[in-house]
């Protein structure tokens, strides 16, 4: 279970899982969505594989990744995604508020 939490803690890995929700994808197709180097993406894929959240199959030269989430892992992914979105918007609202000019008291 630790491996699952570790895998879901990173936004890039969560985005990979969200992309795989639509359809299975090759490693190249997935990498195209991220502005990171190939070794970094490979490291992310390895973490997802270790947590048993994705299935990897070779088809000719292509390496195909498929989603392998249990219902609880799926729910956890949704929950972590929603929580980080809320935390992110709260953080940006806090920053915006802190940048506002202080109101002068009469």
């Amino acid at each position: 279970m630790n491996a699952v939490f570790k895998a879901l803690s990173d936004p890039t890995r969560r985005h990979v899982l969200e992309l795989l929700r639509d359809r299975p994808m090759t490693a190249g197709e997935l990498s195209d969505h991220f502005p990171v180097s190939k070794p970094t993406m490979s490291a992310h894929f390895a973490v997802l594989r270790e947590a048993d959240l994705v299935d990897v199959r070779k088809s000719g030269k292509a390496v195909i990744y498929r989603l392998k989430l249990s219902v609880l892992e799926d729910a956890l992914l949704g929950f972590v995604g929603a929580f980080s979105a809320v935390a992110g918007s709260a953080g940006s609202a806090k920053t915006a508020v802190s940048q506002l000019p202080e109101e002068s008291t009469p």
Partner: protein, 135 residues
Amino acid sequence: MIHRNLTIALIAAGIYLGGAFALKAAEHAGAISHATTIRAYAVFTGLALAVYGNFLPKSIGRLRSPVADMRMQSVLRVSGWAFMLGGIGYALTSLFTLSSAIPIALLASATAYVLGYSVWAFMECSSSKQERRPT
């Protein structure tokens, strides 16, 4: 992999049958009433279905065509959620209601939804295969 799956299935079957025997033995000993035995067994069945539903999307199997893989993935995901929620609903309604019609109706709806979705996905898959076939 087959050995591992078989072991898990045998352990699950053992727990299931063991639970049923334990409940029946408790009823014979007069520790619990017949109604409680039935209710406990229904809760046990619902929870077993929920556990099965939870792991169902993980059984994606071999690689197929991209369209078939996409459909298979969505069918397993929908089935997993339906069986898990149906199982939990079956367990809870068996626990709190006297009538057995509500839990059965709940489970039947989940099963019907899974069947309907599977048939729809199969039809979609076949039609996209025919579209790709050269004339």
